[in-house]
Symmetry: D2
Subunit: 490 residues, 4 copies
Amino acid sequence: MKFPAPPLPYDPESDHLREECGVFASYGAEDSALLIALGLHALQHRGQESCGIVTHDGSRIYAERHMGLVGEHFADGETHKRLPGNIGIGHVRYSTSGGTVIRNIQPLYADVRGGGIAVAHNGNLTNARTLRDELVASGAIFQSTSDTEVILQIAARSNRASSTRRFLSALKQIEGAFALVALVNGKLIAARDPFGIRPLVLGALDGATIVASETCALDVIGASYVRDIEPGEAIIVSADGIVSERFAPVRPARPCAFEYIYFARPDSVIAGLSVYEARKRMGAQLYKDAPADVDVVIPVPDSGVPAALGYAQAAGVPYEMGIIRGHYVGRTFIQPTQAKRDLGVRRKHSANPPVVKGKRVLLVDDSIVRGTTSRKIVDMMRDAGATEVHFRSACPPIKFPDFYGIDMPSREELMASTLEADEMARALKADSLGFLSIDGLYQAVLGETRNDTSPQLADHYFTGEYTTRLLDHERAASDKDRQLSLLVDA
Amino acid sequence: MKFPAPPLPYDPESDHLREECGVFASYGAEDSALLIALGLHALQHRGQESCGIVTHDGSRIYAERHMGLVGEHFADGETHKRLPGNIGIGHVRYSTSGGTVIRNIQPLYADVRGGGIAVAHNGNLTNARTLRDELVASGAIFQSTSDTEVILQIAARSNRASSTRRFLSALKQIEGAFALVALVNGKLIAARDPFGIRPLVLGALDGATIVASETCALDVIGASYVRDIEPGEAIIVSADGIVSERFAPVRPARPCAFEYIYFARPDSVIAGLSVYEARKRMGAQLYKDAPADVDVVIPVPDSGVPAALGYAQAAGVPYEMGIIRGHYVGRTFIQPTQAKRDLGVRRKHSANPPVVKGKRVLLVDDSIVRGTTSRKIVDMMRDAGATEVHFRSACPPIKFPDFYGIDMPSREELMASTLEADEMARALKADSLGFLSIDGLYQAVLGETRNDTSPQLADHYFTGEYTTRLLDHERAASDKDRQLSLLVDA
Amino acid sequence: MKFPAPPLPYDPESDHLREECGVFASYGAEDSALLIALGLHALQHRGQESCGIVTHDGSRIYAERHMGLVGEHFADGETHKRLPGNIGIGHVRYSTSGGTVIRNIQPLYADVRGGGIAVAHNGNLTNARTLRDELVASGAIFQSTSDTEVILQIAARSNRASSTRRFLSALKQIEGAFALVALVNGKLIAARDPFGIRPLVLGALDGATIVASETCALDVIGASYVRDIEPGEAIIVSADGIVSERFAPVRPARPCAFEYIYFARPDSVIAGLSVYEARKRMGAQLYKDAPADVDVVIPVPDSGVPAALGYAQAAGVPYEMGIIRGHYVGRTFIQPTQAKRDLGVRRKHSANPPVVKGKRVLLVDDSIVRGTTSRKIVDMMRDAGATEVHFRSACPPIKFPDFYGIDMPSREELMASTLEADEMARALKADSLGFLSIDGLYQAVLGETRNDTSPQLADHYFTGEYTTRLLDHERAASDKDRQLSLLVDA
Amino acid sequence: MKFPAPPLPYDPESDHLREECGVFASYGAEDSALLIALGLHALQHRGQESCGIVTHDGSRIYAERHMGLVGEHFADGETHKRLPGNIGIGHVRYSTSGGTVIRNIQPLYADVRGGGIAVAHNGNLTNARTLRDELVASGAIFQSTSDTEVILQIAARSNRASSTRRFLSALKQIEGAFALVALVNGKLIAARDPFGIRPLVLGALDGATIVASETCALDVIGASYVRDIEPGEAIIVSADGIVSERFAPVRPARPCAFEYIYFARPDSVIAGLSVYEARKRMGAQLYKDAPADVDVVIPVPDSGVPAALGYAQAAGVPYEMGIIRGHYVGRTFIQPTQAKRDLGVRRKHSANPPVVKGKRVLLVDDSIVRGTTSRKIVDMMRDAGATEVHFRSACPPIKFPDFYGIDMPSREELMASTLEADEMARALKADSLGFLSIDGLYQAVLGETRNDTSPQLADHYFTGEYTTRLLDHERAASDKDRQLSLLVDA
């Protein structure tokens, strides 16, 4: 027997943008670690590489951080014994480019004057590097290369009297996208960035207060949804109850469009709108934007399913499972010598020939990123006997990079960034290619058109218009390439 | 950091019958281990607990057998170096009651007079214990407690001159269900039991010969389907080509009905019929057998999807994803103190409220086994606001045990074995409960009614009529409880 | 963090002959697994690669077999729960040439007519291959490539009525060296080969019966020594007490000389003689056989210590620790670029310069095998300032291979097999080299000279005279190269 | 098979004081990681729980830190590829009370203004807690609970212009015992505390500079000894050569007496004196201080060997291996039911009866700590037939705690702290008990008597006189109990 290769918690060949994090917090419930474990499990789609839980039992703070899935580490009957206490926060994370090191796994923790602070953060700060440089110059030692630590370091150095004040003062100095939960001196603080780019919701379970990235994590534990945390709002939960504070002016949220398109779980509700319904409406709108005369509508499973249903219902064309998705996806198998075509995609997706043969098929996927999988699926449909293959993306062409915590390929790798739509169709070998329009996206999500002077969604992927300034990015390119740390930690 | 709990390759809470094995073989292709690894990966749904590959390079025989998934052990670039050769067989296995020990993992191997024999077997022999007792009494030492070893021991003791003859003579002595592939003295032998209960297909890839439990394993490597191995037929593949031999009289196959209902992958074709199409037709037939006036048809994912589509199309009622299935199912999480209802099912399935709220919903699942999950899902629909919840099983009531290699609960645990349909409806708290009829099943699969004197399917689950005699089972119960081995191997 | 390389349980660079096994058994003591674990731990020097324990609780038989040390697997508080019962046997093993596979780890077990047999064996059979060929030809399937399984297979096929008789009849058919313990139908059988080549002793602990390879394993559990098992004797321990049977004629033992020289632990007593005393007497005799005018006697630690003490006391020369042995020996480190000499030996042994500098030193080691380490140690002494370096081996020159279970290099690698003594001295760069004479060895061990017509020790290493015929060895060389199994088990 | 318990790198039952760390550094040698690995391996006796190496290749800094032995992690052929560069430092560590967490494993590293600093430290600071409190109050965030990080934090906040200056200014603020090596901006800094309590030596290997805790680590790589680093001296090694700086006034070293007694390897030389010779002289002096009329002198292996040899030579009494030490010590085995006496000690040490029986024996050990092992060994000698058993400790009675980096039991557990010598003799059941006197210790080590106004050794274990003030210790006890961190890191 040989030692098995560790199973991968995610599909390394997936051609999607990838959400980087999910957060969850519980205040006032017994054995909070068990609730957090279930909540993080429900948020697992937001990050599969590492997970961590920090709890507080009134005197000590308990932390566990691991590479791997929540269920591998926090499902056993000892979790609440190792992590005792009625207050706690948790985090799941997917990290770019294999560079995850143990010290970056969240929640991050620091002992500071007057106690300890733990913080779990979803999003990305656009001035973290600038702030970090200033802090290091004045003698700060960073334990991680994570943006999140900047918040801890600023709070540690603040001369405000209370821990809570020190933490809130740090929130005023950071820019970018953040939805975070923190344990500060026995209190739970939850905060969302001034534009509300990343989602964060407040829930209740008996007397306990719950905070989560998505409502699906409330549902899993049977908690009720109370309301979204507002942009620029911090909620402080303590023995005295829940207090709301503002660290930025009141303004309507400008949530990330991609939460509706792909990131969020279909059974979640964001800003009052069901994600599943939004996706079905995108599919229906896509039919308006890019109709085709076909025999059957086929989703690219699993993320294309709701939009394909919406498209099929709007078009009055049968919806069929023309592509079967294998459930045991994992490592990339070595290609056998004898194989004539690339077998990678067939390992994950296989054609269902009786549905496809002799048909004009229309494939619906949530998006096209590099186009690598899309091309193989078009091929696969033809191999299975389709007479025509039409491809539809239920979001507009993705052309611009993200700076708010999303893992995406470089701009050169984005198919829509370098090719026109007709070139893309030819590259995919599709009989036609169609995208949801930007206005179609707004109609599907909001039932109204885009307000170009103050857009209602963070839609930079399609428009290149960013919600905040990009301070770190604007600094000289040479400086950007500088490593945050000299350390290579094996 | 603590040591992570090993991930489970299957869902321990699944309330389904479970197929126990899949087999795959390749003769004449370079680096056969790579083809076998991919083929087994495509058959992973037939067994997730252990996997093994045996190859032959002309002089030595190479074996690797592991607990866990194919992708964990055979996806790396060293697989074909550790397992060289142009001939090979493989096996995936799910084993009942946690009793798997390393020595039972297949393919089994024995050095015998004139060479070595390796065999991988899907199914269960109904006279294995009787044969084993005779062999032990005459001095045989068994290395495993697997039925399959009986074949090896009989072959080893046969006084026929050639290895192939010895192996074929063993096939004549065994009874029950078997679809097996074997390496015998540099030849590949594939054989299917006299009634063809378990599936086995022949394929071709350039000059190479492929044998697999299902056609989906041919598709994944780009091999073409040639034909099904016939009941009572053995195929001997050698340098001289392919020879077919019969070890039992010619008769039509009587394939297991449950392969169509649940076991096989939807993109497989069994006896010329697409499994996906069969399931859609079962759904359409189910609508005829048990119609209901509802607003929406909802599949219990993922196995209920094709039947639900068929039902919805036949009924002209919208099909919607009213239940979302989590992708990161694994260990059972500890129930938090605060939880009021059982959260287990919510971890795997969650309601999608916008689709359900205020609606009369009809749930379609492939089958009802113990009914534990079904009851929770009905509850979940009501919690999500459904006004009526109707439940439909796309197969007839399961009442009788299997002896042909299927893992099922004891008869007392089978809901339909102890309760009438109306009692079941009450137990599930469903507004109505309906099943596919036995004739509906035959119509969907074969387009004809059941021939009661010679049934066309192995349908004992529903009828209690078994395809073969059950020799071991008929021996005294006290004898049956006797352990096959005194050994408890830690 | 990276995954650590598994620690090696033995020193891969050691230049010694290596004992291959130790056995231990207990009958009639509660929680026998705990006694066996301790006993095997005391015998760990006889085999560090794998270990196994089999127990019997009156109805079932429990087995655990592992790669690695006894303390890694059998020291925890669950050992006696996993392995219940008042009867049990155990085994430690070192295996040649990295070829250990799980299925060869002892004790071996077989379910046979009338029950189960487990056997643990120290030694090597000289007709095992011949017997195996006959058994395979008549249909036997072997589960291992171990010699020991031949005994099980013969017993399984015997037509004697009782299990005990069947086992004893097998003992009459095997040739070579064996000291074995077996569980047969609830009885403990211990047997020693007709010449008593390998040691085996009987002990008592309250009412319980203990059998072990060496007395040090009796001491560790506080058991008293009763007597040696005699050559050709089998002891059957059952509820009826202890019965002695002979399966070979009475004759005096001819124990392996190397047990005294190196294999046995110094605190063991073999055939009434303390191993420590024997070694000291070899040292004293070595002084008579090969005196030298030196300032200090230095042992090559640890195995050279008793002989060096004996030499120093006889010579009246100070005994000093001129070589320090590191305690954390394990993997071979990569040689740094900058290193000028081979650093391997310095990692294990380092000179203690104040003891060596300006002195004429005499090194005493138990034996010289390939001479590789000896040469480096001579160098090291010179580097540390010795003015003369004399080397003494406390056994005669090793020139001939072993067939009785000892791991040794090929004959070509044995320094004394290819070089004369003066050539060896030059090769070692020693100022003089001396060996214990064969008569010196007999005087030290037995206090008498060698009886050349019927030697009192198995001394083939030095004389080439073997105790038994070598049936397998005498078969054609081409046949010997034939693999016992076609299987390569990864 | 079960998963093996991880092997313990040290003996958990050892009744000795324990050195906590060893350090090693290399500047200017190719593949420095390989030299460091070998050097740390030679220092493994100074710490077996964790190990770490940090290297610098001119641009990046590479770190690996592990639980376990050097040979488990740094012996493979990839070590120098994972850790490239010609400059590097390393550390081995044993940590008290099981509290080691990954973040405390050394070398510690911090990115600071102007580069990165890594430091590896042997010893303990007596004002670390006080300094840490001040730093935290002004906003510092500590990544570890290690004393060593105080040095990094002070250096990070220093306003001196160069990194080297900042580091040296930190050295002036710390008190206690320290022998440290650091990588600072491409330079290697080595420093020893103002009293030279812990050892640190300078060596050379071709053009490269080596620094190590003990000379045995120079020997293992073939480096030559240059000189000891002086108390209060810092050595800065850079491309410009070696510069010596003082951060404390010149004064003679006051090395820890226990380095000579037990900690250091016998082949090391400290302050010009061979440790082996010192121990032999302690044995000879012990004979003068506590003679006895006996037949044989027996060392308690392995640490009592040199003193026993010295005693035996001075007394003119035979030296014999009356106690055999097992080589495969590890986990504590579960005590079998049947055992009448504690078997723990027999697992590690066993009596060698022929040497002991009927004799008056004198046991020599290096020290007596709790006396637990000593008592069992006295028992064991009597069981083996000794007529009288005399016990001698080759150091004075240990009565006082250490604050300079040594792991010892609490004062209440120190046998000599609570009992008079005659009470101890009775407790050990020894016929007599004797200790080396304090003056005997000074005579053996220095050849002169103790200078009571300015003692030449750190001998607080015996005298209660500490070399430095104990600032942290003097703060209120309640404050001492305060946790350095609120975090419990699982």
